[in-house]
């Protein structure tokens, strides 16, 4: 398929290499973008497929991994809406259990010094899931190792200042949600 090669300057092999190398990053971006983390793998698959098909639209004005990350974000937004995915999630949850006992799910508690209970993190997960996309995505992307604000801005295609303020408002919403929860208890 030299069609893509001639127009974009990215060969199939280069695409494959980039896809393989940024696999971990894309997976993390997908986790940060998806409302439900179990969709992450599917999102990455679909994004890579779309990326491969649309490689001729890659103009080379940003690194290939950033371009792929942008597709991941777009796929993630649409992914949640599709009915068949909901069905799949339903089927999946049918035989899925989060097993903390035998260590299959690595759960890393937050800083012990803060003395936050795990319960709070579980609750926070719920609140994070309820945040609108524009707040949740930058907030979770900040937790991706090595991803800086300018890079998040590039992936989300918004100015860095906007990323920072969305992170701030995201945090504030979560803080308020947690405070309300404490008051209810």
């Amino acid at each position: 398929m030299n069609r893509a090669q001639a127009q974009a300057g990215v060969t199939e092999a280069e695409f494959e290499t980039a896809a393989r190398e940024s696999r971990t990053l894309l997976m993390q971006i997908a986790v940060a973008s998806a409302r439900n983390p179990i969709d992450a793998e599917d999102i990455v698959q679909e994004a890579l497929m779309r990326g491969f098909r649309g490689i001729k639209r890659f103009r080379g004005d940003c690194p290939l991994r950033v371009w792929l990350s942008r597709i991941v974000v777009r796929v993630a937004i649409n992914h949640h809406r599709s009915l068949s995915r909901r069905l799949k999630r339903w089927v999946f949850f049918g035989d899925f259990e989060i097993d903390q006992g035998d260590g299959t799910v690595e759960f890393d508690p937050p800083d012990k010094s803060i003395g936050v209970q795990r319960e709070a993190v579980m609750d926070l997960d719920k609140y994070v899931g309820r945040l609108p996309d524009e707040f949740r995505m930058p907030l979770l992307m900040l937790a991706v190792e090595g991803l800086t604000i300018p890079e998040i801005a590039e992936i989300l295609e918004i100015p860095p200042g906007t990323v920072k303020s969305r992170i701030f408002y995201g945090r504030r919403r979560l803080k308020e949600a947690l405070n309300n929860r404490r008051q209810r208890q």
């Binding site: 494959e16 896809a19 393989r20 696999r23 971990t24 997976m27 997908a30 986790v31 983390p37 179990i38 969709d39 992450a40 793998e41 599917d42 990455v44 698959q45 994004a47 890579l48 497929m49 491969f52 098909r53 799949k88 089927v91 999946f92 049918g94 035989d95 899925f96 989060i98 799910v105 690595e106 759960f107 890393d108 508690p109 937050p110 800083d111 010094s113 803060i114 936050v116 993190v121 926070l124 997960d125 994070v128 907030l139 979770l140 900040l142 937790a143 991706v144 190792e145 090595g146 800086t148 604000i149 200042g161 920072k164 303020s165 992170i167 701030f168 945090r171 979560l174 803080k175 947690l178």
Partner: protein, 277 residues
Amino acid sequence: MKNCEWINPKLEAYFTDELPGEELQNVQTHLAACAECRRQVESFNEIDSMVRGVFKRRVALAQQAAQMNTRPRLFKIALASTSFAIVALLLVLGLTFFQQTPAPPVAVQHPPSVPEVQPEVKKDDVVEIGRAKPDDDAPAASAVDPSFEHVGSDAPDFVITDAAGYTTTLESYRGRAFLFGVVSPDQKSAVAGMQQIFDSFDSNGGIRIVGISRHREEGFDKATFPIRFNHGSKLMGVADGHFLLLDATGKPRLEGSLTDAQGVSKVRTQLEQLGAR
């Protein structure tokens, strides 16, 4: 409640690094003095570390889901084909019972159940390329590497975060000399050495000094130098308890041990050479 209202509208700018120098100073001075406001800022930082916990948990879930991906798919195919067969059967039965005339062509509805389901297992070559073969010969673990914490050879040279979680790279420190030391709370002598360097040169506007901890941890109570946290980077290969001095262009100039008694004078000599003193 003290007169702290003025700080609330400034918090966003404080966290987004947009406070001009003087106001930043005011806020910092106030935070140092007012426990209540400090608590408020800390609670934002708490949220951040909890969000990290949430993210890690989600990554673990995603990995588990990816590994189990084939099972629901098979289950779904089985479910779809069974329900299709049942519907077809009911249709045939219903038609034969309630219609006087026999309707054999309806029975032809059976075969489509197979091709209808077929796309679920299609071997699209495009999918194969994007897939990086997690289901085939390659081990599933390589597709989703759980060791995000691990600093591999492809890790960036220098990425740190501040207490609020904002990430910074070396580029942000260009334009001035920059000294960072890799410290941890249990290495008291290194922390003391770092403190000594900070006390000696903090007033010098030509240099920025930062202590970097490899993990997000507390215990630097006595230290007054700014603490940052490593964010999965190689930290330019600087070992624990060592410091690295870079010039304004980001070129490494002097590396040394924080426990070295001569450290301060070596840094001073080097800074004089750089013209930062």
